[in-house]
Amino acid sequence: MDGAVNAAAWAFDALLVLTLLWLAWRVLMGPDLFKSIVFFIAFGLVMALAWVRLRAPDVALAEAAIGAGLTGALFLAALSRLAAGERIANAKRPVENSDTGKSTRPHRGVRMVFIAMSALFFGGLAAALLSLPAEAPGLTIQVAENLSTSGVSNPVTAVLLNFRGYDTLLEMGVLFLAVVAAWSLTPAPKEPVSPPGIVLASFVRVLSPMLLLAAGYLLWAGTHAPGGAFQAGSVLAAAAVLLLLSGKDMKANWPEWPLRVVLGLGLGVFIAIGLVMMLIGHRFLEYPLDYAGDLILLIEVAATLSIGVTLAALFLGGRPQRDERK
């Protein structure tokens, strides 16, 4: 019986891995951009299954929320903006610039060099990986030993928000910088927003509260089970993207300054709590055991809101413009 389970597991893993590699090849080398994007969406789905097989349900959740929802929407929106830009460019210069990039692939010799380099790279990486011991506990034991001092019982959340809090703090910084940079580059492109049909409108009306609920659930579950601020924030962002796509006008409904406050909230709360801890005699980002759980939850709530709003703001493709019709 055990042998049958093993064989079935191997069959599943082998199939999964082959599918992933084949999909990646189609994503990267297919001739049509739209096709590549659809393959990339499928690639994200299969990646989430790979995370499940690697017993990383926290990562699978993050990959599911981002890969299934956000990345696809981001790329599809970018593709339509590219097409719109192409139309404008063609209208400006009707004849001289009809080149759509067909001649831009390097010729054969150069490609051969790059194939050889990539193969060499793969060989080196594979040799390094195969030389590693087949079993290694890593930091599993240390995390398990110190879990009781972290304030939460999900080891991944403990690592993210307590043991390696710096990583997460800097990550919030990266998110903040990304949105600042995107907003300084360009105003959000004006896109024709047709009113949603009755089916889409009622679908969004039913689904968006459920998405909010699910984000809250994932945030709450993160302290003791797979979940947490990143997964919750991504679900929140997906809800916002769905609203934007269905024609809800976020800028009109939401004045500028609260939006900016929420964008900086995660980073701000994280740093503020760290500084307060220093004031009362601890180290930066060190949480006293008695209220470590509460502090982590507070940071996570702020981080969830910020991540959700930041990713949705990035989906806009630039800083929101004031409605000048009024």
């Binding site: 019986m1 389970v5 079935a8 597991a9 069959a11 599943f12 199939l15 599918t19 084949w22 999909l23 189609r26 049509d32 739209f34 096709k35 659809v38 393959f39 969406i41 499928a42 789905l45 989430a48 299954l49 499940v52 097989r53 017993r55 349900p57 699978a60 959740l61 599911a64 929320a65 299934a68 929802g69 956000l70 696809g72 929407a73 599809l76 929106a77 339509s80 097409a83 759509t100 990039g101 067909k102 831009t104 692939r105 896109e191 679908f203 998405l211 699910a214 994932l218 579950a221 089970a225 797979p226 979940g227 997964q231 679900v235 997906a238 993207v241 769905l242 796509l245 269905s246 024609g247």
Partner: protein, 93 residues
Amino acid sequence: MTAFYLGLASFLLLNLAAGMWRILRGPSEADRMLAAQLFGTTAVAILLLLAEAMGQPALRDVSLVFALLAAVTVVAFVRRAWRPATEEHSNDA
């Protein structure tokens, strides 16, 4: 039972891989999107089977997230990326 669940999950994965032919062939962009939508549902079913086979009930939350977000890409496609039939994508390299 575990072997049965895993075998069934492999079968569904094989189904998913076969469905990729539709993304390759098209012919219209909607056809390709449809295949992606079927993949989403298949992935939900695979996740439910794996949750049972691997004894990890937390995996049901992953399929819950998939189910919640199943429509986002289709809505993005219909509302943004789907152009009128007359226009063709430039077959860029």
